[in-house]
Structures are given as C-alpha cells and as structure tokens.
C-alpha cells in the first residue's frame, strides 16, 4: 500500500492505495470521478486523459502512487459550479460532442493546448489531438470548438 497526497480539482486529499492501483481506477472508483472515461486501458485512445501538473497524461498508464504530490485536473474540474469552461461551452455550441466518450479526454488535451498556445492554428489543433481518438470522428467540429474557445477566452 502507498499513501497518496495530491490535489484533485483544487481539493487536497490523502488516500491509501494499492501499489499497482491505476490512476484512472483511483479517480473513477475510489474518488467517484466518473467523468474520466477508459476506452482502451493501453494508453492509445486518450479518453482517460487528465492534467497532471498541467500536462495531459494517460491516467491508464499512470499508477495512483505516482500522483503523490501532484496537482490533478479531471473533466469535473474544468467548470466552476454551473459556470462552464469556455471549451465546454464551445463544444456544446459547435456540435463537437457526438457519443461523448472521447469528450472528457479531448477537453483535457485542448485545455493543455490553450494554456500553452492561446491561439492555435487549425493545424496545431489537429496535431495536438492526434493522441485522442474520436471514432465518431467529429474532428471538424472539435477543431471549430477549440478555436472558438480560444477566441472567447481572450
């Protein structure tokens, strides 16, 4: 067992976890943060992306003990109460959500992108999303949404 102290969506917490507990299972099952989806459990699809220290990581490839001392943001941490993050608002308005299973991971990747590059080109958005599969393939609308969010959060 390992002790994990981390900040998840702005809340400091302490937990005892098994050494081999995956970060995605820790978030979903131990903390009840079900918004993080697990699509492949092999680090390819990006559905389970969360921000760890501001960087998007595959929570299925991270062990919970590795989150010790880190700041984690999941999709639940993007909005503040009823106040949606500009990305979330833009995804709704642009029709960038189809089945929605990839959406949380893509929002996380997009947030990390905009945090570093507030005005990405279409090409930069497409490159940034290359690690997030969307099988409904709403990429056109997703790119629209991310670029609109970039403009609206200026």
């Amino acid at each position: 067992m390992a002790e994990v102290r981390c900040v998840v969506n702005g809340e400091l917490l302490k937990a005892e976890v098994k050494d081999d507990r995956l970060l995605c299972d820790f978030l979903r099952e131990d903390l009840g943060l079900l918004g993080t989806r697990v699509g492949c459990r092999e680090g390819v699809c990006g559905s389970c992306n969360v921000l760890l220290g501001g960087f998007p990581v595959r929570s299925c490839l991270f062990l919970a003990p590795q989150a010790d001392g880190e700041q984690i943001t999941t999709v639940e941490g993007l909005s503040e109460g009823d106040h949606l993050h500009p990305l979330q608002r833009a995804f709704i308005d642009a029709g960038a959500v189809q089945c929605g299973f990839c959406t949380a991971g893509i929002l996380i990747t997009a947030k990390a992108l905009l945090d570093r590059n507030p005005e990405p080109s279409e090409h930069e958005v497409l490159e940034a999303l290359a690690g997030n599969l969307c099988r409904c393939s709403a990429y056109g609308k997703i790119v629209d949404a991310i670029r609109k969010a970039a403009v609206s959060s200026k």
């Binding site: 459990r41 029709g95 089945c99 409904c136």
Partner: protein, 780 residues
C-alpha cells in the same frame, strides 16, 4: 425546423456527469468476465474449475458442463436479434449457444467467471484450465469451399451460410456487344467498429424472476425479445435500458455481453457487471464482412455498364448472425445505383473459423461500392470517358423502381450531389488538364481526383417480411412540458435531440419544453432500433404523428372553451388563438390545467408507416500518391448527401463527417488480421488496429442537399450511412487517376499501392498492368 439546436445530452457529456454503462454500480453487485478459447475450432473435453474457484473472491464458473443444469430452459439464440424475421434462402444453424462445448473461433467464450471484484474475475478467467480437443479449422473462404474442408455447422453443407442469385436480361449477348469487357477481382477487409466505449453490461435480477439489463445495445426491444426467448422468460420479465452510449456503429446491433451477464445474474441472484477489455471488444464482437468480388462488366462507348456478371463470396465468420441480412444488401447494392439492363449475380456467404461477421455502419454497402465504383472507373478509363459523365448517364432517376421498395423513386438529389460535389472539388479542371501519364514533379508525388456515388435506404421497411417498426407516445403535461416516449437509440447520433425538435415543431411549442425518454423497454413502445439509417425517418414519423394527435386533443378541447371550430385554432406562443379573431384566445397553460382537472388527457400515439425512402450521396476525393513509397495522402474529401431535410444541420454534418472519416480508415488502414496458421487475431489492440486520428486525414467538406421525401418527417430521410460507403472507392479512383494504377484490395496500404504502381505481383494478389511502363494509353 432546420435549426442548429445544441444536443440535449451535450451538457452532461462535457461536464462529465453523463453516465455510460460502466459508470453504473448496484448494491451487492459482483463482476463477471469471460474465459475465451485460444483455438479456432475445438471440442471441450473438460473445464477444470477447482483451481479457479479456489482463488480469492471467485464465486462461480459457468461452462457447458454446469450451465444446462443450472438454467434448463436456456436455448440457442440469434445474436443479431433477428430470430423472428428470417429471410428465405438462408440456412440457420440453431447452434449458437452460450458457452457451448464446441468452439468455432478464437476468442469464443468458453466460461463465465463470477467474482467479488473485477480484478479477481479477470485473473480467474485468464487462468481457467480448459482441456481442448483441437479440430481441423477453416481459416478463410478459399479453404471453406474445398471439398475436403471440415464442416463447421451441421446442416450447412459446403460451409454455405447463405446464397442468393439475381439475373435479368441476357448477359452473354450484352457482353458480346460491349465496347470493352473487363474482369477483375476486388477484395475488402475486416473492419471493426472500434467504438470508443468498450463493451460492458450491467444486469440486475428481479424478484419476479426476470432481469433489468443496462446495455449500449442499439435495439433494446429486439434485445428484450431475443433474451426473453432464450431464457424462457416473458417479455415483461426482461427490461432493457440504454444508458449513454459511447458509439456503436453496428457493434451493438445484436447481443454481445448481455446473455452471459443475464445467465450469471439468474444463477447468482446478484447484480452483475460484465466488461470486455479493448482486446476482447476487437476480437470478440462482430466485424464487417470481408468479401471477394469477381466481377465481369461490359461497357458501351459512353462508359455505361451494359452487363454485369458477378460472383461474390462473403466471409460470415463462425456463426450466422447478421449474414442473412448483409448478403441481400450486397446483392442489391450492385444494381441499386445504376440502370444495368443485364445482370447475373450470385452472392455466397461461407462459414469460417474466424470471428463472426456482422453489422457495421453501411451493412454491405461499402463492400459492394468499393468493387462496383472502382470497376466503373476502370471501364470509363478503358473507353476514354469521364467517369463522372459515365455515372451520370446510367444513374437511377426519379420514377425508376429501386432496390428497397415497391414504390418508385419520388424525389432524387443525386444529380445535385454530383453537380455540387464536382464543383467543390474542381472536377473538370482536375480531369481535363492532366493527361495520363502525368508528369512527375521533382518530389515524385502525383495528384488525382476520384469520386463515387450511391443510392441508399432509410430503414428496411418496404420489403416483404421485414419487421421495421417505430412507435412513440407524446404526453403534454399540465404545465406545458412534453414527454416523448421513444426507444430510438442515441448512439451519439443526436436522434433524441432531433426527435425533440420534431415534437416541438409539430406541437408548436418550444424545444426546451420537450424531453425524450431514455430508450427503456419498460416505458417505450416497440422500436426496431438504430440501424440501416432508419431512426430519424422511422421514429421521427412516429413522433410527428403522436405529437399531431396530442395537439388535436388540445385544440379540440380548447375549441369547446372558445366556442370555435378546432380547425380555426392555432398555437401562438403560449396562447391558443382563433384564426382571424385575435380577441378570442386562451392561455395554453389554462387550457391544459383546466383539461387536467376535468380528466382530459392530451396525449398521442404514433407509429411509422411501413415505407422506405431512397437517400443519395456522392463523394469526391483528392489524393497525392508518393510513387517511391506508395504512400497515399488524402488532401481533400468532399461529401455531398441528399438527406431530404436537415432537421438539425449541425447533427447532419457531424454524421456525414464521421462517416467519411471512418470510410477513410476502411480505405487506408483498417483490417483485423487473422493469422492463417492459428486463427488468432494479430492486431487486437488499438496499438495495432489502426484507427485514423485527427492528423491522418483532411477535414471533411460537407454539402447537404435537401430533396424532401414525401414519406419522411418534414421530408427527412436516412442520413447515417451513405457517406461511409463511398470513401474507399472515391480514394481508389483518385489513386487510379493520379497514377494509372488500380488498387483492388482494401485497405490500400502503401505496400499494395506500390505493388499496383509497379505492376508487381504481391502475396497472391492479381498482378497489375505496369502502370508506369505504359505510355499514353487511356487518357481521361
């Protein structure tokens, strides 16, 4: 109508509160996993459960040895949930059973393991000791048809799973009169839906001996019917509910985990969660049928097909499932889009010891279109005709009969799709200025454009024997809010939003006041489910009719209050007014509240009429082919589609764009590869099964054409599938235009493209004429 209303479920999906099936937990729930066969064909001698049952947390193991005793009423079942609507000319081995003692493909479940935790179930399933007696296996259709091939199913002589033939006119005479006769073989791949949500199911046993099943199934009412039959339960004892669905694309148009989870729940009397890993999802759920087309076509000097002879062999995989339905679609699609006077076509499906072939968006359409549409370009090239003109000359037209209905075509947007698509891609400029063989630029890259078109359907009604029902009820509450009960499944398609829009429009009330129920067999009328581009066309009509009936009830009651004729009343915002007499009106809420107190019910029930509507699409691709590597970069994709009426244009565009991108994967990368020695899937992970990413293709340009169909809700018709059908042939035709090389096997990998370019024989593929060696033959 026609508004870009945001999806009703978008908000819960972006904040993460939406619930998919794996997000559900029930008190006392335990976990099941499946143990699967490593052999493609085997008989089970023994399942040794002792050691697995000794592992901590393991409760139960269900196998062929104990299941019949525990559930004596359990029967065979049809995983496609079509068991009540079989079509003729197809054998139906009734041997698809849960954890059978005979195994027919690698990955077939041999036991259900139930444990206190998912981890314990995974561990026990992986280490379960099963003694197999391996049997000789048939791993492709060429082996399946050999005389000495082992027979996979009793009653399926020669491993034939189905066979249909269609002929018209005199093919031999027409071929003799043709300007050019071409004979080619086209092969398609085993594409997987690869929806992002891995298969999962939660089942709760009920006190009445029945079960509630939460599943991303695409047709809860069909699932209920099949589950009830196989477990010997009444329809009221099985309730099937959709949580949010993380994509489906055909994977959920039949049973996967559900029967195993139901069996475990009935035996343990505990709620069960059964998950598939991504690997299990790829190898243990059904894939698109691989098919081989041997086609011979005679073309006239204008590029029209005078005669088409074809022998098509589909790989059904190990069990029948959807094959009886996909087979006639392939046959129909070979003659659906064009007037071909002379045909002799035979489609045969063969069983093999490979994963089961089944439903996948397009359902036979993509296979047929790849072969036929590429053949048309080869013919047009041979007679030196623009392939777009060749198609335009022979395409089906208004007034023609078509493949899926006895009613002739009322309206067709095909001409418009062809014209607008060609304009958008710059067809005439591309095709006219560049003659074959093209000059290579210094980088060795050649560019070309290609296209394809299709007529498709909206559901399966219109054919004898097809069960294609949609029912809906609409209840207007006393506060003016409205509840629509419909089991139309929202796989991410936005159908719940569109149904709400239809209801609001028909009632004349704001969309915000309309809610559509979950697809729950406990509260909805029968609906055949989300498949065959049917939901909007069928369920939309049912909702429209139900809403209009509810509105009539309101207006009839209001007419009494206002002492007017119901026909003179209309909704105006939140009031009901008498036409031409603005001073005579009543507040809607007052009417509804008063009616409620008097026991009036403002409700409607609607069903969809048994009709079908043709939809049309044309697609244009622009490619760059690297002559050194065979690499293909698709630089533009223009998809034009006649959807009748875009009730929500954003949703329609999303459907078209997604279909094209999946079609591009079919064209370039996707194929579940079976090891020819062992029958094992060699690329059963997202690492190795290559789904295209955002960086792999161009953003799809959409052109929405609206030739309203008189039978559709507000003129709308099927929109989900036509565009996935056309991408692979459009890309193949663009490669042909760019290089003169014909790639007739999917996916069009760099290796195959290069081989076609070099005219090299590769791994049993037909040798291509040396494209680069030619000098100036066949300018187009």
């Amino acid at each position: 109508m026609g508004s870009r209303t945001p999806k009703v479920d978008a908000a819960e999906k972006v904040v993460g509160t939406g619930r998919y099936v794996d997000d559900l937990s029930l008190p006392g729930m335990v976990y099941a996993r499946l143990a699967r066969s490593p052999y493609p064909h085997a008989r089970i001698r023994e399942v040794s459960t002792e050691s697995a049952l000794g592992q901590p947390g393991v409760r139960l193991i269900l196998s062929s040895e104990n299941l019949p005793g525990l559930l004596p009423d359990l029967g065979p079942y049809d995983p496609a949930c079509h068991d009540f609507e079989r079509e003729g000319a197809v054998s139906m081995p009734g041997d698809f059973r849960l954890v059978d003692s005979t195994i027919r493909h690698v990955g077939e479940p041999v036991a259900v393991v139930v444990a206190d935790s998912d981890g314990a179930a995974v561990e026990a399933a992986a280490t379960l000791e099963v003694d197999y007696e391996p049997l000789p296996a048939v791993l492709d259709v060429d082996q399946a048809r050999l005389e000495e091939a082992p027979q996979i199913h009793q009653g399926a002589e020669g491993n034939v799973a189905g066979n249909l033939r269609r002929s018209a006119g005199d093919v031999e005479a027409a071929l003799a009169e043709s300007e050019v006769v071409l004979a080619h073989r086209f092969s398609t791949s085993r594409q997987k839906q690869a929806q992002l949500e891995p298969t999962c199911c939660v089942v709760e046993p009920r006190r009445d001996g029945g079960v509630t099943v939460w599943t991303p199934h695409q047709a809860p009412h069909r699932a209920r019917r099949t589950l009830a039959r196989m477990f010997g339960l009444g329809l009221n004892s099985v309730r099937v509910v959709n949580p949010l669905i993380g994509g489906a694309f055909g994977k959920g148009d039949g049973l996967t985990a559900e029967p195993y989870a139901v069996a475990a729940a009935l035996v343990t009397r505990r709620p069960i969660k059964l998950r598939y890993s991504r690997h299990e999802d790829l190898v243990g759920t059904e894939a698109r049928h691989p098919a081989v087309f041997d086609l011979t076509a005679g073309f006239d000097a204008k590029g029209r097909i005078l005669a088409l002879r074809g022998r098509v062999t589909m790989d059904a995989g190990a069990y029948l499932s959807h094959t009886p339905r996909v087979l006639p679609v392939i046959l129909t699609q070979l003659t659906a889009t064009y007037r071909i006077p002379n045909v002799d076509l035979e489609v045969t499906a063969l069983f093999t010891n490979t994963p089961v072939s089944g439903a996948f968006r397009g359902y036979g359409g993509p296979q047929a279109a790849f072969a036929l549409e590429h053949l048309i370009d080869l013919g047009a090239r041979a007679v030196n005709v623009d392939p777009l003109e060749a198609r335009d000359r022979m395409r089906i037209r208004t007034g023609d009969s078509w493949g899926y209905s006895r009613r002739p075509i009322d309206t067709s947007g095909l001409e418009e799709c062809l014209r607008l698509g060609a304009e958008a891609i710059g067809w005439s400029g591309h095709r006219a200025k560049e003659l074959w063989p093209r000059a290579c630029d210094q980088t060795g890259i050649r560019r070309g454009v290609g296209m394809a078109c299709v007529v498709w359907k909206s559901g399966i009604a219109g054919k004898a024997g097809a069960v294609d029902q949609s029912g809906a009820t609409v209840v207007v509450n006393p506060d003016g809010s409205t509840l629509v009960a419909s089991a139309a499944c929202d796989l991410g398609t936005g159908i719940k939003t569109t149904l709400a829009q239809i209801c609001a429009e028909a009632l004349g009330l704001p969309i915000e006041s309309v809610r559509v129920t979950e697809s729950d067999t406990g509260v909805t009328p029968y609906d055949s489910g989300a498949h065959a581009s049917r939901s909007l066309y069928r369920a939309g009509r049912a909702v429209e009719r139900a809403a209009l009936e509810a509105k009539r009830e309101i207006l009839t009651y209001a007419a009494d209050l206002l002492e007017a004729d119901p026909g003179d009343l209309q909704f105006d915002g939140d009031r009901i007014v008498v036409r031409g007499a603005p001073d005579r009106s009543a507040a809607l809420f007052d009417v509804l509240e008063r009616g409620f107190r008097e026991g009036r019910r403002f409700e409607g029930v609607g069903t969809a009429p048994l009709e079908n509507a043709p939809s049309f699409a044309a697609q244009f691709a622009e490619v760059e082919v690297d002559l050194e590597t065979g690499g293909v970069r698709v630089t533009r994709l223009v998809a034009a589609q006649d959807v009748g009426k875009a009730i929500n244009p954003t949703i329609v565009e999303g459907q078209i764009q997604g279909a094209v991108h999946q079609g591009l994967g079919y064209a370039l990368t996707e194929d579940l590869v079976i090891d020819p020695e062992t029958g094992t899937v060699l690329n059963g992970s997202f690492m190795d099964y290559r789904v295209l990413t955002s960086a792999d293709g161009p953003l799809v340009e959409t052109i929405v054409v609206e030739q309203g169909d008189p039978t559709g809700p507000f003129g709308a018709k099927g929109a989900g599938e036509p565009s996935i059908i056309l991408t692979a042939p459009a890309v193949a035709n663009a490669i042909l235009h760019a290089t003169g090389a014909s790639v007739r096997k999917l996916p069009m990998t760099p290796e195959r493209v290069l081989a076609a370019i070099r005219g090299v024989k590769l791994g049993g593929e037909q040798a291509e004429p040396g494209a680069l060696a030619g000098n100036g033959s066949g300018t187009v």
